[in-house]
């Protein structure tokens, strides 16, 4: 035991010091996992994964590969993201051991830990020598999406962050730039760095071109609108709660401004943008109908035409804009680290060690690098080494700009709100977005939302929630440093 612990400590030290050269006697975490997993040959592990594209990774790549290396079968349980928390909680209550390993959105982690659904991973990390490689995960994710109360419950496994995509050819068009300068007296910002500039430019493009293309489009569908709101509200200076009283403060001027600005933007965005989700927004951008948009990292890869000729990607409309896309921080400079995934072990699993070994292997330096480069992957770079991988940098001509934008976003990004029973608070936000599109008054919606938040807080217990909020807001990515 003592020696193992020492190894772990040295690993920590090495990670912190940035001494990436591994001692000769240390094995790569992937190999350790494969070697240790041999004893479970012939067994099956069930892993919960987001339904659809996300699960192509374990179904087509990592699952079969793990089976080949260890003889352990991987059964992928696909659950839509909206049902995931529900299903994991239900299953934990059911206690049938149907799930071994889990994909967990980090914001849920405290709730799942409190309920007892997640296994503490520290002993395993120590036993299987993973501490060193774990520390090499990009700091934002490592420091914020891994632990609850000082214990490890999940391995951050997806560098989700919003990115501003813009058409370099349109924003760089001399005629458009001249017209912009004439109208506003300032240079056309390439790309816009504040929301005021963004809105002015977006409206200008739509009006100048008559909607061919539109200035911009966004996610407006409530599920994603929730993330967009959380980011922009904080960029506008908003705070979710009064830290002393724990009363909700989302109905302040910042909140109302975000909603009011959204309504104004819809007037020059494509008609029907209110119900756009991931694919509608993607299709419009790839087909050249919008000049700017904000989304998760996969847009950038597909816009460059990377991997879209794969058969499984046939549902993605063909990109007409490869080579014309610029990548930048979202206006305000603090993109939402929206959602993301961590890998955890279910406490009700009957096969915890095998499940653990699988997620260590998935999450390790070498295997994760392969996974984030899968053309159909929705896993985005989350390790420092992913951002600097020579292989990744050479994937397409602008890949270095792309990875640089992702890394910059990871460094300045904002965390999703994470409290006790986070989902209830987020549900209120989702409904607020929905009501906004239904035409209700922004201030009235947010007043109502604030009182619903207060009611939830009261039911949970003000003091308990206050303590959780205090430790959350102390994190580096909770609020932008102004």
């Amino acid at each position: 035991m003592v020696t193992r612990r020492d190894v772990g400590r040295m690993g920590f030290a090495a990670g912190f010091a940035g001494l990436f050269a591994r001692p000769a006697w240390a094995q790569a975490a992937a190999e350790t996992a494969v070697a240790a997993a041999q004893q479970y040959r012939g067994q099956t592990i069930n892993i919960v994964w987001e339904a659809g594209l996300q699960s192509l990774d374990p179904k087509n790549f990592s699952g079969p590969k793990w089976k080949e290396l260890t003889g352990i079968d991987v059964n992928v349980i696909e659950v839509p993201v909206a049902e995931m928390f529900t299903k994991i909680m239900q299953e934990y209550r059911a206690g049938t051991g149907a799930y071994d390993a889990l994909n967990v959105i980090p914001a849920w982690m405290p709730d799942l830990v409190n309920a007892g659904a997640l296994e503490v991973l520290d002993p395993y990390v120590e036993k299987f020598g993973y501490a060193e490689e774990l520390q090499m995960i990009a700091p934002t994710y490592r420091d914020n999406q891994m632990m609850v109360d000082g214990k490890i419950y999940g391995f951050p496994d997806d560098g989700d962050v919003f990115v501003l995509y813009y058409r370099k050819d349109i924003l760089g068009d001399p005629a458009l730039q001249a017209a912009y300068k004439e109208k506003f007296g300032t240079d056309l910002p390439v790309p816009p760095t504040t929301w005021a500039d963004f809105d002015q430019l977006g409206q200008f493009i739509t009006e100048t071109t008559g909607g061919k293309p539109y200035g911009a489009a966004f996610f407006r569908e409530p599920g994603y609108g929730n993330f967009m709101f959380q980011e922009r509200f904080r960029v506008e200076g908003g705070r979710f709660f009064d830290a002393d009283t724990m009363r909700a403060t989302i109905n302040t001027d910042a909140g109302v401004k975000v909603f009011t600005d959204w309504l104004a933007e819809n007037k020059w965005a494509p008609a029907g943008v209110e119900q756009w989700g991931f694919v509608e927004n993607l299709a419009a951008f790839l087909q050249g109908e919008t000049a700017m948009t904000i989304s998760w990292p996969p847009y950038g890869r597909w816009a460059a035409g990377y991997g879209t000729d794969e058969e499984v990607m046939s549902w993605v409309p063909k990109s007409t804009i490869a080579g014309k896309v610029g990548y930048a921080l979202t206006p305000g400079g603090h993109p939402e680290l929206a959602a993301g995934f961590a890998l955890s072990v279910a406490s009700s699993s009957k096969n915890k060690e095998a499940a653990y070994l699988f997620i260590q292997w998935l999450n390790s330096e070498s295997v994760s690098l392969e996974r984030v480069q899968l053309p159909y992957a929705l896993r985005d770079p989350f390790r420092t080494s992913h951002f600097t991988s020579p292989e990744y940098l050479a994937k397409w001509p602008d890949a270095k700009d792309y990875l640089a934008a992702l890394q910059a976003g990871a460094n300045s990004g904002l965390l999703d709100l994470s409290l006790l029973q986070t989902d209830k608070y987020e549900e209120v936000l989702r409904q607020s977005v929905s009501r906004l599109w239904a035409g209700e008054d922004p201030k009235a919606i947010l007043d109502d939302a604030a009182s619903q938040w207060d009611a939830i807080t009261d039911k949970i217990g003000v003091d308990a929630q206050k303590a959780v909020y205090a430790s959350w807001s102390a994190k580096s990515g909770a609020y932008p440093k102004m």
């Binding site: 339904a51 659809g52 059911a94 149907a98 989700g277 499984v312 046939s314 549902w315 409309p317």
Partner: protein, 279 residues
């Protein structure tokens, strides 16, 4: 139908009725056409604006994906659940109905209680059923869902079979008893064969109801026994609406129902009206 009271010339009237009938068929069948046609479209055709009304060529890629990913297994799951529960419910329901009809067991009250079970709103029991299933470890098992669907089907089967058994002449059973048959033999050799067409018709509708069930399947399945109705909703939202998959999966789940009901045209009305109309 203001046209009816007036005495127009017969030919004109028939023509008008035809026009309206065709219009109705277009209105009621167009959405189904649209569903089918999307499943044969390529992604570019699905995401074409304005929408295209028929694909360049019929291609089955959307179905191939479902089979390759193993999603099509959910249709098989639906098939296993619906047919097993139908079979069991038909046996148990028919003998129960026989008891109700021939021996007036429990009187009218029992019959009314049974049909009132059909009226129970699922939402009132879905949550406790979930907890019960958790307790027994029946979540995500064929056994659990078959048991549930059987129980749901029973009121309908009993109610319907009651009507069909009432139509069987008593003399036949009596002569069988006189010939020395036991009670069970009478059931097996006289009642079942005599009620054959009713049994078959009731079975088809029981099958369709189980086949189309969604709420309990949503709550009680994880991965092993996911039904096609739950599978369809897996394609909503998330990163996208997977239109092609939604359409292809729906078609796979709909074709068996069309076939089942097509064989049962004659009994359709009696089946869906719970016996209120004797066809």
């Amino acid at each position: 139908m203001s046209g009816l009271p007036f005495h127009r010339r017969k030919g004109t009237r028939l023509a008008v009725r035809y026009v309206i009938a065709c219009l109705l068929v277009v209105i009621f069948c167009f959405p189904i056409y649209w569903l089918f046609i999307i499943s044969f479209k390529t992604p570019d055709e699905i995401f074409a604006f304005p929408p295209v009304w028929y694909p360049e060529s019929i291609q089955f890629d959307n179905y191939k994906v479902l089979f390759k990913d193993g999603d099509a297994v959910s249709v098989l799951n639906s098939l296993i659940l619906a047919s097993s529960s139908t079979l069991i419910a038909m046996v148990l329901g028919t003998i129960a109905a026989y008891s109700l009809v021939r021996f007036k067991t429990g009187g009218e009250n029992l019959a009314v209680w049974i049909i009132s079970q059909r009226m129970m709103p699922p939402v009132a029991i879905v949550f406790p059923v979930f907890l019960l299933y958790v307790f027994f470890g029946w979540v995500d098992t064929y056994f659990g869902l078959i048991l549930l669907y059987t129980a749901f089907a029973l009121p309908y089967v009993i109610w319907m079979m009651r009507g069909y058994i009432e139509d069987i002449p008593l003399e036949l059973e009596e002569s069988a008893l006189v010939d020395g048959c036991t009670r069970w033999e009478v059931l097996w050799k006289v009642v079942f064969p005599m009620a054959r067409s009713g049994l078959f018709a009731t079975a088809v509708f029981t099958f369709v109801f189980s086949w189309n069930e969604f709420l309990f399947a949503l709550v009680l399945t994880r991965t092993e026994v996911t039904t096609y109705t739950v599978q369809v909703t897996h394609y909503f939202g998330g990163q996208s609406n997977f239109w092609a998959k939604i359409a292809a999966m729906s078609v796979l789940g709909t074709i068996p129902v069309f076939i089942a009901v097509a064989t049962m045209q004659r009994y359709l009305v009696r089946g869906i009206s719970m016996g209120a109309v004797k066809g």
